[in-house]
Subunit: 275 residues, 2 copies
């Protein structure tokens, strides 16, 4: 049993050094089904949303008018297209995520590791930037990210900030929170401003109640993290926002990534910097 | 008397539309002796420090190692040079400020409107960027600057943040404070990051005690301004810092601008943006 655990650990260490392409191949063969956080370092990981063609235009517009919570970094060129060549070599969106969630009429009905059997020629795929990219930049610049140092999921909260509506999609913004001292928060604002395609600059800091958060110690999603003395909670627009809007608008069918099981692309995080 | 007041007002309105060059000519002829804030809109105004040559190298180094409180935007090319051609047409630093302060051994001994009589061939002039430039950008972007809307001097505070020492110069940083809601503070950090030569991004926000300020309602310099509910005090490195260091190091002679009576240059504020 000890031997087995040792082999597992060795295996994981080896997998962490794989390229994004190699990792996708493992995932495709069902030889990797875990969370993608920490793998293919330096590469952009994306949230995935797949919708029928007659819901896609509304969702595209929702992303365009709410770029901070819904930063679109790629989409399929035609309905039914399952390759996203702009995002990486030989991507097959039907098999290259470690986990998928199927929603029918806004209800989660199934978790899968392969959606080939569900695929039809009218499905449109969207890939949205996620916070992993900017967290990497913040850590490189010496800022502690509490959810990472405490090995937790980032705490996320519903807010009273209304998104702009687009067709059948509407809803309030969901935010993620990372506590920091003011000096680090100022630096984080500078760094994240360079990365609008992965949520950009924070949207708020300080008093949580001003954006409709009653209890900072009870996140609506993810885990509670320690806020130390003299730290300020800093809030970023979060990729759960579009998922909430999707559940509320109840399309007949919608497929997303399972939480933490992202599309790992070949794009460098650094290439997302606008300046 | 009413006629006189009317003429005064008309005169002031006319002067506000003058170019930086025209304003300097008025000042030189002693026809303008007031504060320069609000005049020659869009043009950089600078703090002035004039020192004997054997103190100049230390001060230059102090500016270079403390660029946030001491952002150097110009200096005379040789000792004794009183024109600063890089900063504006026909500038004569001896006559073109509405007011000067003479310090001897660190003590204020005289206020003057012309320093030609004091001029010697070993004096070196320094011009430092000031907050007027970034305040203009913040206002243009719709952010209220409380000291301006309340028609006061910006509140300034001594801190416990030590500057880096250089030769005979050392001292703690002085900061200016502008209260804002978080959303505006985030935008202000983004905007001011583009302008390192006029103090750059804020150095702190939130709890004043963390940088050694005991009572936010009792500024050490300038006026107290209203901090409204839900606003955070935001702190910038301030141009009073080098003045404090100068008074502490007691050079035999030092000439500065009188507070609010700046050198008005021909440089556009917008040209200071690094990106």
């Amino acid at each position: 049993m000890l031997e087995h655990a040792k082999r597992e650990q060795q295996n994981k260490r080896m997998q962490k050094s794989l390229s994004a392409f190699e990792l996708r191949q493992l995932i495709r063969g069902n030889n990797f089904t875990g969370n993608t956080s920490g793998y293919a370092k330096g590469k952009v990981q994306g949230n995935v949303v797949i919708l029928p063609q007659n819901w896609a235009a509304d969702f595209l517009q929702f992303c365009q008018v709410n770029p901070k919570p819904c930063p679109l970094i790629g989409m399929s060129t035609t309905p039914g297209d399952f390759s996203l060549n702009d995002l990486g070599k030989d991507i097959d969106i039907r098999t290259d995520l470690p986990g998928y969630r199927l929603f029918e009429q806004g209800q989660l009905t199934q978790e899968l590791t392969d959606i080939s059997a569900l695929w039809t020629n009218n499905l449109v795929s969207f890939v949205l930037g996620c916070s992993f990219s900017f967290e990497e930049s913040l850590i490189e610049s010496g800022i502690e990210i509490r959810n990472i140092s405490e090995n937790k999921n980032v705490p996320m909260y519903n807010t009273n900030i209304a998104c702009k509506s687009a067709g059948r999609f509407s809803g309030n913004m969901v935010v993620s929170m990372r506590p920091m001292v003011a000096k680090d928060a100022i630096r984080a604002i500078q760094i994240c401003s360079r990365f609008p395609s992965v949520h950009g600059a924070p949207i708020h800091f300080g008093e949580p109640s001003l954006i409709g958060i009653d209890d900072i110690n009870t996140p609506d999603y993810g885990d509670n993290v320690t806020i130390k003395a003299h730290e300020t909670p800093v809030f970023w627009a979060c990729g759960v926002t579009p998922q909430l809007a999707l559940m509320q608008s109840r399309p007949p069918l919608c497929i997303t990534h399972s939480p933490g099981k992202m599309l790992v692309t070949d794009i460098n995080n650094s290439s997302l910097a606008v300046l």
